[in-house]
Structure formats: structure tokens, C-alpha cells
């Protein structure tokens, strides 16, 4: 099948799916209340990739979302970050001064990452960002072995949190919150004999954590060039990882996340982006890739993990992000998506916004223009 024979990308339907999810989710989704900010990111990210933020949403809504996001920024003894949502706090009227968080309401590392991206997608000016507080929060989350926990007082620690710490530091252009050498050492210990990286040092290689490892190693301050050999990845690790990643592309075109598992649309991003970062994106069978994701489109909008599966914002966003990394020349114009920054996982336009507004010092300013 050539690119031109593929069905179209149902852009309007997918934007609709995410827009609906931004308003409400059914009771079957009660459990993701604890990750509300992340769901928001997948929805905003989808609209950003489809170029529909301004088309599909009103300024009053965007203002409301920005306000809600800032409402989750919280400061206290361990520094500053963003909570997943306000579900564990009694309602405080917008505009009033926040209290310091208690041990129950601490910020969450992964949510802090998604909050910054979401605010950038919504083109916030980041005047309210407590940069120093965030740096202190990162320090509070790093453990002896170099890994990071989701919260300063505990929680699981694995490569996902390391990636978020690296991405945040990179966006702030301030690495003082991270002991990079120790973190890199932890990442390298997660390298699996299969190739790829597991969640923790003894774990099986997983697509998601492989992306987290590689993106982190390429974001690290000592690495300036995506195209040069990375000092933290040995030739052997690189070769094994490429081999493992490529073997995870099934004949359907989709990628699986682990040895001997079924294809799942989200791994098209985690594995696809990993190959892209390693500079071997050309080795991916793009037509099959696109064909798989096309078949995961749900008839009423949204993209699911496999054909016929129910969609959700997570799979919708990651499928589109994967498609943005692997454009196909002769495909229908509906498949044309903006360029993606694979290391931060956002469009290049949003990445530019981040570079101009998130760091304390930007290229233009001679002195800090904000606190």
C-alpha cells in the first residue's frame, strides 16, 4: 500500500475528542483524577499538533485553563512545582494567596513537566513561574542513586521522573537542581542486555523508559549536538538499542513496547522517537507505520491503542506526535503535521516559545526581566 492509498487523518474528529475530554470525563475514568494535568497536556498537545488551538477554543477558555494551571503551582518547604489537580485541597478562590502545601499536597514532578508544556502551548508569558522554587523542588526529588521520585517525600522513582527533571532543567536552562553525573549513572544502569532501557536497573527494556533514557541523555548539558555520538551511550548500547527498537515494529506497522508484546499506538511514539533521537529514523518502515496509526482511528474521533479500541487523549496525542516525526511524502495532505521537537515532546513552534519565555535569562534580555 502506498502513502496515497491510506485513509485520511480525521483531524476534525480527533480535535473534537480532545476538546470534549477537556470539559469532562465519565466515571469510568475516575482513576485518572490523580493525573488530571497530564490528561490536559495530551488534549492541548493534540490541538497544538492539529493547529486547532485558536480555531477550536475561545480565548476565554484558554484564559480559564491558564488560570487553572497556575492554580496548581504550589510552594513550600521542598520548593515549588505543580500538583496534578486541586483534588486534595479544599477550594480556594482564584486570586487569593496560596498557602504552603502540606505533605499531602506536594507538587508532582511529572505534572510539573506537563504543566510547563501546557502553559507554553497556551502561549502563557510565564510571569508567574517560580523558577528558583522549581530548581529547589528538583533537588528535593533526587535520590542518592541519581534517580528522582515523583514527590519530595517519596513515591516511586524510575526513568520517567529522571526524564521530567532533565526536560524541566533544559526548559529552564538551569541545571543547578540536578546532579547530572549521578542521574546519568542511574540511566546507564537501566540499560538492558536486550538493548533499550528498563524502568529500573534490573528491569526488562520498555519502550517508554527507553525514550526517557535517550531523551535525557541527549538533553544532558554536556551534549550539544543530536547528530554527534553521545558520550553517555556506548557503541554497543547504541547498536543493541537500535536492533531492539527496530525488532519491535510489527508487520502491521505498529510498535510494541517490549519483547513479545502486541503493537500499541503509543509505542509508535516511544520507540519511534527513540530511533529518531538515535539518528536512524530512516530505518522505520513509514508506510506501514502510518497505515497502523490510520487504522487505530476511532470512528467518532480520537485514536486508540489498537484498531477497534476505544480512544483516549494519551494515545491520540502520542500517535499524532509519532506521525509528526515520520512524515510520508506521498500521503494525503490531511497527514501533514508540524515539526516536532523530539526531546521535549512538543511542536517546534511551542519549543521556540519555551526558549523565549521559560528561562530566567533569554538571548535577548541582558538582565533578568522577571523574578
Amino acid at each position: 500500500m502506498s502513502g496515497s492509498e491510506l485513509p485520511k487523518l480525521a483531524r476534525v474528529a480527533h480535535a473534537g475528542h480532545c476538546n470534549r475530554c477537556l470539559s469532562a470525563l465519565p466515571s469510568s475514568h475516575i482513576q485518572i483524577d490523580a493525573s488530571r494535568l497530564a490528561i490536559g497536556f495530551y488534549c492541548f498537545g493534540t490541538l497544538d499538533l492539529l493547529g486547532s488551538i485558536y480555531e477550536k477554543t475561545k480565548e476565554i477558555e484558554r484564559e480559564g485553563w491558564r488560570e487553572w494551571l497556575w492554580h496548581q503551582q504550589t510552594s513550600g518547604i521542598h520548593g515549588t512545582g505543580f500538583k496534578p489537580s486541586s483534588y486534595m485541597t479544599q477550594d480556594r478562590p482564584y486570586g487569593t494567596d496560596p498557602e504552603e502545601y502540606s505533605e499531602y499536597d506536594t507538587p508532582h514532578l511529572i505534572m510539573t513537566y506537563t504543566a510547563i508544556l501546557s502553559l507554553a502551548i497556551l502561549r502563557d508569558d510565564f510571569e508567574q513561574l517560580d523558577r528558583n522554587g522549581i530548581v529547589r523542588f528538583l533537588q528535593a526529588c533526587q535520590r542518592e542513586d541519581g534517580s528522582f521520585t515523583s514527590f519530595p517525600n517519596g513515591g516511586e522513582s524510575d526513568l520517567r521522573q529522571v526524564y521530567c527533571a532533565f526536560a524541566i532543567s533544559s526548559m529552564l536552562d538551569d541545571w543547578s537542581g540536578v546532579d547530572v553525573d549521578r542521574a546519568v549513572s542511574f540511566i546507564q544502569q537501566c540499560s538492558s542486555h536486550e538493548g533499550g532501557y528498563g524502568q529500573q536497573p534490573t528491569g526488562e527494556a520498555l519502550g517508554g523508559t527507553t525514550y526517557c533514557a535517550l531523551a535525557s541523555l541527549y538533553l544532558a548539558p554536556s551534549v550539544s549536538d543530536l547528530h554527534a555520538p553521545n558520550p553517555h551511550v556506548t557503541t554497543d548500547e547504541r547498536r543493541r538499542t537500535i536492533r531492539w527498537l527496530l525488532q519491535n515494529q510489527a508487520s502491521s506497522g505498529g510498535f510494541s513496547g517490549r519483547t513479545n508484546k502486541d503493537a500499541d499506538a503509543c509505542y509508535c511514539f516511544w520507540c519511534g522517537a527513540s530511533l529518531h533521537i538515535l539518528g536512524v529514523g530512516d530505518l522505520v518502515d513509514r508506510t506501514a507505520f502510518l497505515s497502523y496509526l490510520a487504522s487505530c482511528q476511532f470512528k467518532f474521533g480520537g485514536i486508540g491503542k489498537a484498531p477497534e479500541d476505544r480512544p483516549d487523549p494519551y494515545h491520540t496525542y502520542l500517535s499524532l506526535a509519532a506521525l509528526a516525526l515520520f512524515p510520508l511524502e506521498d500521503a494525503d495532505p490531511s497527514w501533514k503535521l508540524p515539526r516536532l521537537n523530539a526531546l521535549w515532546n512538543t511542536t517546534e513552534d511551542t519549543a521556540d516559545w519555551i526558549r523565549q519565555h521559560v528561562p530566567l535569562y533569554t538571548v535577548k534580555a541582558q538582565s533578568p526581566v522577571r523574578k
Partner: protein, 335 residues
Amino acid sequence: MHGVKRVQYSQAALEAKKQRDHDKLKAYLALSDDVIARKSHDMSNEAFELTTRLLRMNPEFYTVWNYRRDMFIESLFPQRSPSEVNELLSDDLSLTFELLKQHPKVYGIWNHRRWCLEHIPDGPSPDDVNGYRNSTWNKELFVVEKMLDADARNFHAWNYRRYILATMPFPPPPKSELAYTTRKIEANFSNFSAWHQRSKVLTTLWETGELDRVKSIEEEFELVRNAMYTDPDDQSVWIYHAWLIGNGNYAARLQFEITSIQELLDEQPDSKWCMESLVRYKRLLIEKHAENLGDKKALVDSCLELLAKLRDIDPPRRRRYDEIAEGIRSGNEMQ
């Protein structure tokens, strides 16, 4: 008339479902608000029961797990005997087991289990301070086995299994874990998680000298050869085989395996994994044992022939095979 009735019935059912959804959400939100209002000051039994109800509805609510643990430490444990504390923790272990059966991948539940295990008190008596601990930790292996029976690839469960073996006061000997992986592998060769665990356990046994590495590797090659012949399409087997080969410094072993895999390929001429592995191991021979090679050109030609066949039978990786072929032709090191 019949058709109209059916439409009405399904509409009513839809309405009922909507109402149930609405009620469920309302109950959840009310309960959630109640717990939130209490958390800063209420350490009572009543509050504790509310957290139980809330966690049953939403076990991802990690802050409620935190609140629950605070209640244990601040109000439920103090002034209770070790036997009562042990009882409370056993109850929570039962609760989390029940929740894990419905939500096997929720981090918060696994974390709470670990916390409970780590807080088991000394007892039951001054002469037997580890009694409670031993009995509870020993049961954990049983619990994680049940989880793995339900889903042999649940990496949360495998990570947890490794945590138990590393932390429990009197772990079973590594050889017994080796036997566990044998059982899991024999039940299903596709269970890569079991092969993976096996590689970890063997590494430990070799390091401590409990198993003779050379002899053990021989036996592993035998095991994997059986698996290969039984199911040559199974990726797990080939990845494990590659692990056994390692960096390919042992030329005789490489030659032997190449011959063995070639025999399998003769029987199964379309086996992608056979071909891919042959290319891989022949390249290792070329790269690492060039001085001892009789006919290097024959090896190179064989690789190119295999890669050409692989292009046909494994189209998703066509470009990869082309790249490898190019590397071999130009004599470059393996990329």
C-alpha cells in the same frame, strides 16, 4: 410494535446507565470532599474507614494512601500491642491484594504493600522477634506468584518479586528462583519476563560461584536450543540466546551455534530469526576472530545472501538489512 418496544427498552437502559454514572460520580466526589476536609486534623477510626472506601473507588489517589499511612503512625499504632499492629497491617495487605486483582498496575497500591511490609513489628515474642516478619514476607512470594499467574508479563509484579527476594529476612536460595523461572518458561516460551529474570538469577549464581559458569552456560544453550526448535518464531528465545553469546569472544561457541542454527534453518527455510541471528553471529566472527578465519569471503557472501532473503521475508526492516549489508561490503565495524 415489537420494534418500537425494543427502541424504548434500550433508551430506558441508556437513561439508567447515565443515572448510575451520575450517582457514582456524585458519591465519589462527596466522599472525596469529606476526606479532604478531614485530612489535616482527623486521625479517627471513622476517617480511616472513609479512606478505605475512597481508595476502593480510586486506588490511584496516592495522597489518600499517604493520609492512611499517617493515621497508622499517629493514631492507630501507638498504644497497640505488636500483635494488634501486625493484624492491622495484615488487613491492609489483604485490602491491597484485593485491589491489585482489579488494578494490577497501579503504583500506589504496590507502594503501600511495600510500606506495610517494612513496618511489621517485632514479635510475637522476645525469643521470636522475626516471627511476624518471616511469616508475612514468605506469603508475599505466594501473592506475587498469583499476580504472575494472572498476567505473566506484568512488570510491576516482576519488579516487586525482585524487591521481595532482595529484602525479605530469609530469602529462598537463588537456585529455587532459578527453578521458578524454569517452570514459567516451560509453561510458555514466549514469557520473555521469565527469561529475563532467569538471566538476572544466573548472573548472581555465577558471581557467587554457586553455579559453575561454564557448565551452566552449556546447559542454558541446551535449554534455549530446545525452545528454539519447538518454536523458532519466538523472539524471547533469540534474545536470550544473544545474551548467552554475549560479546562473542569465544569463537568455538560462535561456530557451534552457527552450525546449530543453520541446521534449524534447513528445516525451517523461512525462519527470520534464524537468518537474523546467523548474520549477527557471522558478523561477530568476522569482527572478532578475523585472524583465525579460514575463508572470510565465504562468511561475507553468506551474510549478504541471508540479508537479501531477509529483505523479502521481513519487509518492515528492509532498510535496516540494507544498511547492514552496506556495512559488511565496505568492511566497516558493526554500527
